[in-house]
Amino acid sequence: MKVKFFPSFLFLILILIFLIFYKGLNKSNIYSPDNIIEKKIPSFSGKQFYNNLYITSEEIFDEEKFYLMNIWASWCVPCREEHSFLMKFKKLDGLEIIGLNYKDKNENAKTFLSELKDPYDLIIVDRDGTIAIEWGAYGVPETFLIYDKKIVKKVIGPLNDDLFFEIKDLIK
């Protein structure tokens, strides 16, 4: 049977389009218009909250994992407000929550956590606020979603329902 040129050509083109769409689907779509260029996270080292040992950012952040980095303080009122959302995040699989305790007294922070429960997998102490500056934070609370050592999303101010679902969608 003679193979017709046009149909076979069309067939090939369509296969190509299919493959491109298919690849396009599997490409992770996690970017939002305001930070299309994903920024690399700054490297830093800090004391751990519970055992006072130093830890570097390279040790904390793995590449193929999602992290939620939350800047908080016991004196910050909106932090109380967003705390329930952090507890919700804690229940999600595949997400580690890192706390950055900002310009806070150790005692107060501990009472805060025992009162409201501790959502963090790891807490780093930022007594003088220099680490927060490196991250380009405006104030407390502030939250960063990190993947592949890059900032995927940045939330200024307390978390809320919408953000919870948005981030939940992102890490799926």
Partner: protein, 626 residues
Amino acid sequence: MPSIIGFYSLIFGFFSSIILIFFSIKDYKNSNSFDKKILIFSFLQFLFVVISFFGLILSFVNSDFSNETVFNHSHTTKPLFYKISGTWGNHEGSLLLWLLVLTSFIYFFLIKSNNQPKKYRILTLLFQEIIIIGFFIFLIKTSNPFNYIFPIPEEGLGLNPILQDPALAIHPPVLYLGYVGSSIIFSSALAATTENYLSREWAKHIKIWVLISWIFLSLGILLGSIWAYYELGWGGFWFWDPVENVSLMPWLALTTLLHCIVVMEKKLILSSWAVILSITAFTLSMCGTFLVRSGILNSVHTFASDPERGVFILIFLFFLIFLSLFIFFFFYKGDKKNTNSFFLLSKETSILVNNWFMMYFLSVILVGTTYPIFLDVISSQQISVGPPFYHKLIIPFLIPFLIAMAIGPKLRWIKSGIEDKKYLITLFLISLIITILVVINLDVKFLLNTVLITSALYLFFITVRDFFIKKFSSFSQNIAHFGFSLLILSILFNNFLTTETIVNLKVGETHTTEKFKIKFEDVDQLSEKNYKVIIGKFNVENKTDGRSDILYPELRIYNQPNIVTSEAYIKTNLFLDKFITMNYVQNKEHFNIRYQTKPLMIWIWISVVFISLGGLTSLFKKKHES
């Protein structure tokens, strides 16, 4: 309870489809008469989907939060109207609506096609059943609207407030009737090709279905556009958003198809066009669903990005494309009486020319919509294609398109001369003179706009003249073309003459421009059922005639989910829309005020209604004849 009934009804519907396929194949092979069982089972299939759909509506009305879809998209404080419209305001529900329209169309098709050949009817049914079963599986497997959740939540998450708008509440059903309506054309074209039944009778019979989908699609696009204008608060009505584009593409394909069918009815040519366009129209509708639902594009309409759903639709879409192309290349025999006598000056030639233009517009939009995906996959660059791209590529070609639209219908079928056509030239000169007089006074590029407005005006005058001279012959064609010229004219003048002022004001302050004075008189706060509202009172005084309008834009603070939306206040009259929105500024004492005057806005909507009216009158004329 309604959820459970809905779910089982869906399963029963699925089984009726399978039984239906079984009977159809048996009937296609064996008997000579049309089996009554087929009709019964296609009715059952339709009925089960209807029950399932009402089950979902009831769950929404009762705020049954044990249903995951209801929980995710509804809230007890929502007004009843939006509870109901919430049914299709989400991925799962809207797919159930797809299925509803699919099954209803095939049922009515079977009833209405009694006088058609039996084998053609059954094949149409079979092709349609392939689509229906595909959607049944898709719905049950990946997007079941009746998922049960436990423990039962107290309260739902609420419907996105920008979707709580009357125009948008009925926009999806209307649009879907158009989208999914094209499925029946697709199935029928494939069946007709296989059975070698591409005849004038076929054209006559399928024309009704083309018209129905086309009318609904036009109205659906219109509603979406009106919503964007009122609700999004930018004062625009078309943004070349990917989702708007995917609705425009099937529309262009259907419009072209309609013209081909008209030609085919008179003279058996262009049948390959008709088949290809039928396939194109439906595949583009499916493609639209794929692009929107898979999350491959970022858009306001993306409900949830779930790769599993995307992969399913993608594979299904390409399965249908390959199936239809296979059928076309293997079964298509060419036009029966191959009288390929195209004369340069004839109606069919001008229709063919316009078809090519329409295909060009379609390709531009297709490329603009999908190019970002291709680029992203191939080179990981992320871009978005905006209005300038479309304007540059489409506007210049509108000119010959409009002129062909004006002159084409004046030509006769088969062969025609230009005798007795003096008025064609006279009207052209009149349009040219009027345009020059108008354009000189405007601050726009002279050459392009003169030619563009002239051609639109030309079409306008010629169609108006026909209303008086021809009265009712080819009335539907004329009214649709008239609507189109009106549409282009209104869009052009709307673009040229729109003015916009953006200013930050506090209560009591006044902003003065050359033409008007805006005074921020007062703010008021009210509580509605599911939102709080801040109403501003503005006095806009026109300096030239001293008349003033009081305008009340709103800010709505919805409770669930907690979102602030800005409601534009629009004062419409026949010549001018006054459009004002207000928004919070950081310190919450000043408001950001955006005031626009938009001439001829209402004519954009009216002209689309005229265009659809063209289809409607054609439909009724059809009914009278038969």
